[in-house]
Symmetry: C3
Subunit: 445 residues, 3 copies
């Protein structure tokens, strides 16, 4: 039977994400965050229920995530769920794990280019302006990766019939984040109190400080200015502002029926337009998402083994600004089993990564993905915009870059064995058709 495997050295940090079995990480607190002797595939530790969905955070203080300077959260949004507008101080990649919906981003300094020239139905008629206009919104679907630059407010809406699930990676280590390395979400609406308290508790656990009994705040988002100030800013009555500030039900995902917005006809083929570079390196008109699940988008493909789709800054130029990239892999046979080896040759991980689990591979640690008995899929996130993993075996690998005699000498094997080690795997780094057969012609284009 065909077996698939992948042996690599990570040039950047790899966050392997796969897809539910409880295992908690209990690293000792090292002074030194990357002295990793053991990795665990980890799962979310907190869950915040909202009206129309829930938010789960992986522990941002686990050693592996601190070493990677990354925070990860997952949101599950029911049909008609609106994820209230928020932004963060760090670059984000959002992977649509399942489902579909709509995302709106408000890019600073960009015009509201979605305009409705049809008169809207409304009573009263006392407004001179009858038509709504807003910034660009976009549809997303399973397999999409959405790029969210730091500081860009955004919202999501589920107008489909099934829940959608997103996994969001916040790169706290990027120089764009000028705050410390605690994840922070700044909500512009809603009641994020529970989420914020839970995140704070995780941080205090790490610091060993005692959580002071916190009083309940009436207003807990970034719009909590004095009503009179806001009334002036928005030029509306203070009553309206008090309504704005009223904290409804707990949470940041609310249920709204049939939300309407201006939208182009659905079957639009988005082009990778490069607008002129904006002030913050953020464009008004540019590609903000790309699909990595469609089989025809694969960069490496072997009909017997599987496929890998890279998403780097050549496909999505904005990634260069973010300093992040992603990859999705599918192995037709086998659950994904990973082994990771540190600089001391110690196996810091050797296990299956189950659906919904997260594994962090620190920079330069050697890792290997291996087929189990069922089909496997994973998504990797890199804190680099164009990661080149160095394969150890196969075409273009480390082993094939070293002279045969050096291989023989370095590993104290015969010249003939060196030749086997070097050339027996004539497939690309990802695929081999079988463990015992002789080299095969490559099946890829």
């Amino acid at each position: 039977m065909a077996k698939s495997r992948l042996l690599c050295v990570s040039l950047g940090l790899v966050l392997l994400f796969h897809g539910c079995l409880a295992r908690s990480s209990n690293f000792e607190q090292f002074q030194n965050e990357c002295q990793i002797n053991k990795l665990d595939s980890i799962e979310p530790v907190t869950r915040v229920q909202s009206e129309a969905g829930f938010t789960e955070w992986w522990n941002p203080n686990s050693q592996q995530l601190r070493c990677a300077a990354v925070a990860v959260l997952r949101e599950t949004v029911e049909p008609q769920g609106l994820v209230l507008p928020s932004f963060t101080s760090s670059q984000q990649l959002v992977h649509i794990v399942e489902g579909s919906g709509v995302v709106g981003m408000i890019l600073p300094g960009c015009p509201a280019t979605f305009q409705d020239s049809q008169p809207q139905q409304h009573q009263g008629g006392q407004f001179q302006r009858h038509r709504d206009q807003h910034q660009k919104i976009q549809r997303f679907r399973e397999g999409d990766v959405i790029v969210l630059p730091a500081g860009v407010p955004h919202w999501f809406y589920n107008d489909a019939n099934q829940p959608f699930v997103t996994v969001t990676f916040l790169h706290l280590g990027n120089i764009v984040n000028q705050l410390d390395r605690n994840p922070r979400k700044f909500y512009l609406a809603g009641n994020p109190e529970e989420e914020q308290k839970k995140l704070q508790r995780l941080q205090q656990q790490k610091q060993g400080t005692e959580s002071e009994p916190q009083q309940h705040n009436e207003c807990t988002n970034s719009l909590c200015f004095k009503p009179e100030y806001l009334a002036q800013a928005f030029n509306v009555d203070e009553d309206v502002i008090r309504k704005l500030q009223e904290q409804g039900k707990s949470g940041t995902i609310i249920r709204v029926k049939n939300l309407q917005f201006i939208e182009p006809p659905r079957v639009q083929h988005e082009e990778g337009r490069r607008g002129s570079m904006g002030d913050n390196g953020v464009y008004c008109a540019m590609k903000m998402k790309e699909n990595i699940a469609e089989p025809e988008l694969a960069d490496f493909f072997n009909p017997q083994a599987g496929r890998i789709t890279n998403l780097n800054s050549f496909k999505l130029p904005l990634l260069a600004h973010l300093g992040m990239s992603a990859e999705r892999g599918v192995l037709f046979n086998g659950r994904a089993r990973f082994q990771v080896v540190n600089q001391n040759g110690e196996s810091v991980f050797d296990d299956y990564v189950e659906k919904g689990q997260l594994l962090t591979v620190p920079q330069n640690f050697a890792f290997m993905k291996r087929a189990g008995n069922e089909g496997a899929e994973w998504v990797s996130f890199y804190t680099n915009d164009n990661v080149k993993n160095t394969p150890m075996a196969g075409v273009g690998s480390f082993m094939q870059g070293v002279p045969e005699e050096v291989v023989a000498a370095a590993y104290q094997i015969s010249r003939e064995e060196a030749r086997e080690v070097k050339f027996n795997n004539q497939n690309n780094f990802f695929f081999t058709s079988s463990s015992s057969s002789r080299p095969q012609p490559r099946a890829e284009a």
Copy 2:
């Protein structure tokens, strides 16, 4: 009466500076420098008197400045005061708060392009070279912002009839600073001992270490090499070197009558020439300063409300190399009152910022500038070369980028109220004519 206000989310760190009321910040020492629950407008904590002026430092260990990785000092220089040559390991922006004078910078590798072809009056005649030559010097005046790249020695001279006051921002967090985050000034002349000891004491307070009783040093600046070595380097007698190293009166600002240097005729219109990029990203011939106080330079203007002038790397390209920018605002009516809200919706600041006070707005914290009853001016410094604040209200704001129905749903208000919130302020982000009137046509060009 017209009221002016500004509601924003800061994309970068903002150091709002305004301009004497003692308030000290006594943050508890958090392990975590950006867990900010309370901001204070802060004032300098140390003052070093020199012969012809004085230097004041804000506490570089206050939590807000450590979170921002910024140090701030103010110098007041009397007429005929010479600020002795120094440089730092971090990028600096110098704002001329009042007065005028002359600044000289010595850019490494650049020629002495200010040359005197007139024979100088001097006795003796034993020198083959009778003419002085030196690097470019420039006049500055109130409202100028001067850019000082890391490592560039510079000096200031007051040849006017009134004192000048400068406020200097050192961006310690920029990658160019390869030392730790303590501010350091390296003086090439003078006696900076008192200033250095005071800065050290502030650092030791933070670390809780006891200040060892320090002995008095005879020579305390960067030219304190062995006299015999320097005599060789400069090819002069050791006696001359001993004079060079003699520490005069304490301080770094001395009084010198009628200092003369080679200078172009005064009414020179400096152009924003872009020389060829130098080795360190520093040019020999380029624009190093720009005025932000002149009303005609305003980027946003409303005759009833006020004006804002941005200084970014499009106006002063060197700022792109420094990763900093600035802004000056004037509100015709009202002292500047600020409210700042953190990610938990807590109001961490809500007060007037008086003349000479400093307020730090951490990245992404929402803030609002608001008119009091008198005219107000402020200068903001950003640790970003092209900051885009996201306005929350008015034209181009967050609220106008979101579909009306999403606004209504997110804040649980009626469709009509959403429309008011979204469109009632039809002015740009800075100005509204009145809090209760209906939308007005924009008054700006």
Copy 3:
């Protein structure tokens, strides 16, 4: 007699490296890594013996190296010594102190462009592929500086008749290193256990943690995956893999007689070809080394005094990607004596730097290299790709950039003395012919 000297302010961190006298650094542990009151020229603290050479590390936890975020090691490789393949998570510069040999690098994604079209002698003939092919290898010799981007596996071989000695600088502070600031070498072959344990012990000393009694590992390099996994990846029998993983003698430098590899004819003139930029900013075809010892390559030369050769990104463009540079100096008369002065005017170092010793000059500290009685050579490494030191005396110096009257006023000397200080040294920043003579015409081109 002609004396040579150099007085500068370092714009970047300078690691002065020179030629064997034991002096250990015992800085107190400051909370603050760059509060340097005393520098020492330091020597390696650990030595790991391998079969065909030895490796020495400077203490990566000494205050000066931590302030500089740099680690330094020296390798001495006997004839027929093979330095086993490894890579690191940080950018490296390797200086060939003496001897010559061959280096091979395996750049990820680059093809094996060294191919042998001659049939090789081998028994059996059961392989379809009879010819070896591997990535580019290059000869190096004394005075070369080799650039090793982070994550690029590389090996060295000594095919000459005498040992070669390399000094390697790892820039841990570069943003490319996403792990913590402990140096890590990832070996792909060999038994690096002793080296790793010694490095770990140094780190634990700093942290004050007790070294747990460590058990002996059977396999200690990055290829220590489960044999069955590797057998599949390489498509070879598990027996071969077990041989690969067998840990031979301790160490990372083994002896191999007459290693053969495909190589161009020796007297090749390598050009500074700039290939198209690769994904990681690393090229497949580009210049990876440059000599800085050849007299004819000097940038500053005075037949009486000495010479200086800079190596920056204009000569070796890859350095811009690494953010490092180097310089080699030769003083014909005199051992190199250095004095370094901190921001408080304290002389933190004033001594000879002997062969094999390392001196760190923190950013912006003023330093002076001065002739003793014998010839002197040194190599400086900078954590900047195009460092411009600001000379204090001579042509193009700080002193010559300041108006004469400002010099007189700043140092309280007469106008005539100021003129001497400013113009008496009319040579370039490096050379003066004598300490007491009058200005001479410049001897350089």
